[in-house]
Subunit: 212 residues, 2 copies
């Protein structure tokens, strides 16, 4: 069966996004210094050849083990699940050919028709809860894996459901001091994990955990 996994960047102090990085301040990167902070978190990925190619950011880029990892991760995904806030931010940022090339299930209370993008990405807007979204994602994944893309609240819901098989974290040596934490609101009986693999790079530490 498809694996369910998370693959995200995390600040050393546990935040997925810095304070101030919200839709309202999307056009004010200087607000609370959010863009510089986020750059310290995710800058490394914009230097990777496969990521650049996928987001149409232009040629060039590194082709080492981090790049291979991004390629493997991207190619294993058969469906994505994300929250409405992440979708709203992405809608303003992704190129016309959104970088998923799979069905993407957006957890929202707003009704909206599916949104088909060139390149094989279709966004489906669901109001039936995370369990139903996972069911649909599995069914449509063609036997490949399901990525819980984010944000933190969505990942927390799936962690608490005990369905996350793998946690992949790119831990960046930056302290945000505030923002949206990944690990919060977890129930007592949340899944536990073991270390599966560590990839040590100068910019971030790639940590891969598998559910016990």
């Amino acid at each position: 069966m498809s694996k369910v996994f998370v693959n995200i960047g995390l600040s050393l102090d546990g935040y997925m996004t810095p304070e101030g990085m919200t839709i309202e301040h999307w056009d004010r990167p200087e607000y609370k210094n959010w863009a510089a902070k986020w750059g310290k978190l995710m800058g490394w990925i914009f230097n990777q050849q496969y990521f650049r190619e996928n987001l149409k950011l232009g040629p060039g880029g590194e082709t080492g083990p981090a790049n291979d990892m991004i390629r493997r991760t991207t190619e294993r995904i058969g469906a994505n699940i994300m929250g409405k806030r992440m979708f709203d931010a992405g809608e303003r940022s992704w190129p016309e050919e959104a970088p998923f090339h799979t069905p993407v299930y957006v957890l929202t209370h707003q009704k909206r028709e599916p949104w088909v993008r060139p390149g094989g990405t279709t966004f489906y807007f669901l109001d039936d809860g995370p369990a139903r979204a996972l069911e649909l994602a599995r069914e449509s994944s063609g036997g490949r894996d399901v990525r819980i893309a984010g944000g933190p609240d969505v990942i927390q819901q799936y962690l608490n459901m005990g369905v996350i098989d793998e946690l992949e974290i790119a831990l960046a040596p930056v302290l945000f001091g505030g923002g949206r934490r990944l690990f919060e609101n977890l129930h007592e009986a949340v899944s536990q994990f073991r270390i599966d693999r560590v990839l040590d790079t100068p910019a971030v530490t790639h940590l891969r955990y598998v559910r016990e």
Copy 2:
């Protein structure tokens, strides 16, 4: 000059101690399951030969790279600084020959005479603030380094003072879901770090960061 460093165990969700691990529940390890959780965080170190020898836990233990690292870390320490809560817990747990073998400055508001232990550990109880404690620790360290031992609130004070040169974190693949977080209450202008070294072991990931 002496370096100032932190060397601690951290749960994957960012806690130094699980909920329920307080003096009041020291004799009730089943309370909120604190002892089992802490075991998942620190169990690895009780298997290391140098740690066992230093705490008089008996012979044997692993002698690999993690053990070498503990030895190097212990030998570089010329003075320790800790909070009153950590001291109180340790006072109930350390062997008569407390495992520091250096001056230890305890930040507290309670007055108490220095407490001399066999084996070279003397605890000094200070009510003059963290900056003064660091000054005394440096002066008495014999040119070796100063360890900020904990707890989280003490480490946060020194992080906010911008004086921590090195952060050494043994990141364990356990989710506590609650407890005392390391990275909290940080000011906007807190120091930033770069990755210096990663040691990948099956039980924990040893991450070493150096101030930029």
